[in-house]
């Protein structure tokens, strides 16, 4: 009798567990916005009781799993072209803007002291500049003691949206550097690490190294990052203000599902290496799409503060309104 009661209780418990589970939204993909999505999902759960699960596996994996309809939504740092969206029957819109910084490990040179011109950055990453005291670096850093040591370049070992956005910037300066999620680096001394944390660890460990990482990793690990010369010839320190200034120049339009790579924008005060990250939704899943946009609507209205705290730039209000109109037009709001 007791057994029977317990069994019934267990049955009820499992059934309720299943219903709760049905409300869960599953997503995977880009690791670039993952720290922010983690905060958004847990705050959203506290506010509404709806569970959103996001697994940071990388942009490529995100696109793969949404194409195979394994998840409800996917994150990608590389926007998909319209042709591809049509073919795979997907909706796409941006969620937040982030930035890539050049972090270095140089004895005696503090955070923000090193100034890197566009020529110097391209030279370091295409292998024409091999030593720290090279003229191209030294000419803008007269007050610094640059060592005559070879430069170790820290890059990603895995395919990455961060790399895609960084090579997009490099490509603006030197078109021989191809825009790619995993290019073949021509620099002399290269060390590769897996994910942002792997690259950060390599920079921390290796003297006279420089590498590209997402801004929030620089912040949490306290790494030194360089001022970068923008399109207008100004050296810009990576700060939230300079990212915000850069984000203003992004030209989004719902006509092409917001396809835009926003790196290297105009503007005297813009930090040049910025990037947007995108969400992909399957066209035919109207009901779950509405739940995802509900979550994003919440993030757009309540989620700006945690975004800023983590070093991301919330989308401008006009862009958010455009995205809302886009949801309306697609019938997924």
């Amino acid at each position: 009798m007791v057994m029977k009661k317990m069994f019934t209780a267990a049955l009820i418990a499992s059934v309720t567990a299943v219903t709760v589970y049905a409300e869960e939204l599953k997503g995977r993909g880009a690791s670039f916005p993952a720290p922010l999505y983690k905060v958004w999902t847990s705050e959203y759960y506290k506010a509404t009781g709806v569970k959103v699960n996001y697994t940071p596996t990388g942009s490529g994996d995100g696109v793969k799993s949404i194409t195979k309809r394994m998840v409800d939504f996917a994150g990608s740092d590389t926007p998909l072209k319209q042709k591809e969206l049509k073919k795979e029957k997907l909706h796409m819109f941006p969620t937040v803007v982030g930035s890539v910084v050049l972090a270095y490990n140089l004895d005696g040179i503090k955070d923000g002291e090193l100034k890197l011109s566009r020529k110097a950055i391209a030279g370091i990453f295409n292998g024409t500049i091999t030593h720290w005291d090279d003229q191209a670096i030294a000419e803008h850093n007269a007050e610094l003691q640059l060592p005559h040591e070879p430069i170790t370049v820290a890059v990603r070992a895995d395919k990455s949206g961060t790399t895609f956005n960084f090579t997009y910037f490099l490509n603006q300066i030197d078109e021989k550097i191809k825009v790619s999620k995993k290019p073949t680096w021509k620099a002399n001394k290269v060390i590769a690490g897996k994910s942002n944390s792997g690259v950060s660890a390599n920079i921390q460990q290796i003297k006279n190294s420089i590498g590209y990482i997402e801004y929030s990793y620089k912040m949490t690990l306290g790494l030194s990052a360089a001022q970068v010369e923008n399109k207008e010839g100004q050296f810009i320190t990576p700060t939230l203000e300079s990212f915000q200034d850069a984000a203003k120049y992004a030209t989004w339009t719902p006509d092409n599902d917001f396809y835009a790579v926003i790196g290297d924008p105009a503007g005297v005060t813009s930090y040049p290496i910025v990037a947007a990250t995108f969400l992909l939704l399957p066209e035919e899943k109207q009901a779950t799409n509405k739940n995802v946009t509900k979550f994003m609507e919440w993030a757009f209205t309540q989620g700006d503060a945690p975004a800023v705290e983590l070093g991301y730039v919330p989308l401008p209000k006009e862009t958010k309104d455009q995205i809302r109109a886009y949801w309306e037009a697609k019938g997924i709001r």
Binding site: K178, A192, A201, K207
Partner: protein, 284 residues
Amino acid sequence: MGGKLFRNFSFLSATLSFFILIGIFAVLFTYAQEALHEFGIDFLYSDSWEVDEDDEGGLFGGWIPIVGTLLSTLIAMAIAIPLAMGIAIFLTEIAHETLVKPVSIAIELLAAIPSIIYGMWGLFYFAPIVQSTVGGDGVGLLTAGIVLAIMIIPFMAAITRDAMNTVPPVLKESAYAMGATTYEVVKDVVMPYAKGGIIGSIILALGRALGETMAVAFLIGSVMKIPDRITDPTTSIPVLLANNFAEAQDLEISAMYYLALILFVVSFALISLAKFYFFGRKSV
């Protein structure tokens, strides 16, 4: 009834492992077909690993990861073999009884440390030491090899010690009675007697070093380049697989299955050799 059930169950469990083995081989072989067909045997000595712009095709070759795997394993073995032998001889022939137990336990505990911990320790603590003493970037072939050695020493030492413990005391005592020194006893009695087990332990450790992923991924630098110097970064088969598998598509995936197949066959051959030839030949 119970007996029959039990018999069937244990029979099933035993055959299951056999089928899993065959299954894994079949999967590797099937998925590698595309790359096998595309590159054939040239895959083994082509040093390119480039994906096409559209992510669909590319030119892939296994030369660099194969060389990287062999070199890092070679360095590990060169360091680990003498040290592991020293430990085993010390434990069986030289150490006082009160020391044998704590040292044995310490070695067995070392063997139980997960490899990711070796990787983290290696990157944050050991790599800077290598950089300041030998030069280079800290991360590279040499660091990976040394940490691999530290990982396989306990494994090798434990099996070698067990093999040496099987030497009948009568043999050793008669040698001592003839006036042989400890060195001579180890060289002429213990080593020859336990030879099969010792070589077997070396081969098993070799198999482990070949397939080690996490620790090496932290330390080898993951760069697609044949190293010019011993401190240069390079890559190995398991590291390349771990770094690229999640994001790869089509032909690149197939090329990785090809690499996995190579690693599988080599490890399998080595372990069979150890099992059937060295452990099987003598009753160790």
